[in-house]
Symmetry: C2
Subunit: 237 residues, 2 copies
């Protein structure tokens, strides 16, 4: 099994440089809710998404007439069209459109990984579809959690652990770092009941305060989507 590719987990963008060296594909994960929303957008016919790291850039796009999704601290930023709820895209509301998106954590993580050979969007919703695609690529995979304001977060780590488990099951991947082992352990421990496990998640508590329980359930339900959003230049399609 000498030729197995490496799968590794990086908990937060702040640790990216320590993990990025051998990475050929970076999967950016922000379960609650940016990357789940991006998968929902493509599922609902959105043509392209342009991730931007700052509100300044988002305002520039807004001025040019783009539809802009902007979230900070779980809420839609004043003056923008939508935030980071997957529900915003349901019913093919933005079919064929290009959406600009900036969020507290997710787009920061995308920005951190932007120079990797390939950057793709992962979530529980496209877990199996993206896992299959990653196995086909036969390249080293780094799963990058977006965290919460640069700190480790439970839900992104568990989702990364779900990808680790899928990739290892294929027999084509090895997993060496303790961060990957821990992510897989956490996922296996939690897989039968994410919601209960995540009661303790600080981010879930923040979102619960915003009355987003339906959103949270959607974000934690695996395999409702089969999209593989890939970064090409400045945008995902």
């Amino acid at each position: 099994m000498k030729n197995r590719k490496k799968v590794e987990v990086c908990f937060t963008p702040n640790l990216y440089d320590l993990h990025a060296e051998d990475a050929e594909i970076v999967v950016v994960i922000d379960v609650l809710r940016a990357t789940t929303a991006m998968c929902a957008a493509f599922d609902n016919g959105v043509a392209k998404m342009i991730p931007v790291a700052t509100l300044e850039e988002a305002f520039e796009y807004k001025k040019k007439g783009f539809i802009v999704a902007a979230e900070r601290g779980g809420e839609i930023v004043e003056g923008f069209d939508i935030g980071n709820s997957p529900a915003s895209y349901m019913g093919n509301k933005f079919e064929g459109d290009t959406i600009v998106i900036t969020t507290t954590n997710g787009t920061k993580a995308i920005h951190t990984a932007r120079n990797a050979a390939t950057v793709v969007i992962g979530s529980f919703t496209n877990l199996d579809a993206l896992s299959e695609w990653l196995i086909e690529q036969n390249k080293n995979v780094l799963l990058l959690g977006s965290g919460w304001k640069s700190k480790f977060c439970l839900e992104d780590t568990m989702c990364a652990g779900a990808f680790v488990e899928n990739l290892q099951k294929s027999g084509k991947f090895r997993c060496e770092d303790d961060s990957s082992v821990a992510a897989k352990f956490m996922y296996i421990q939690a897989k039968d009941n994410y919601l209960s496990y995540l009661k303790a998640s600080s981010h879930r508590v923040r979102l619960a305060a915003l009355d987003l329980n339906e959103d949270i359930k959607y974000c934690l339900t695996p395999n409702t989507s089969s999209v593989i959003p890939i970064l090409k230049g400045q945008l995902f399609s």
Copy 2:
């Protein structure tokens, strides 16, 4: 329970600034093996320990006639007296002495935390003794894992999780960050059989290759020590 103090876990020195703000006491943890060795040293009559971050500083002390413990990559650095094995101190071998110590990860973490109001040394060996002391202090506690070359490591995180559990059981501490919750989960999952759980630990694999299984067992056995090494100026006593 409004007046409960905060207990938080920081996985590696690289994330220290994100967690340090409210910390009043920082517990530095390097289970395999620096902080376990430091506890063993004090248990065996060592009077003082001077942690230094670099080999250059260690050489300077060596020239001045100090006994110097220097480890890199799990092995004693050539030209030094001892490495980071707790076994070096057994049988009161260095009773009354001052030992200078530099290690791959542990002393780097101590260096990172050096400006905190109080810095203490934690390990599985002084788990209950240090927990009791921390509960008595009634201050915010940050548990800092040393990691492996700045990356997350399982054994330090589990040890941090053991402290979180002890402190929370007292009823006097709250735990908010996902990193603390995850550390506690990992500890609870592993507590009945560390050695089996840590089979997957990358660091354990590294040490096993160096034939250090006796050392590892010692490092993972809780409550063989009651020392509380506290940093005063440049040295622990």
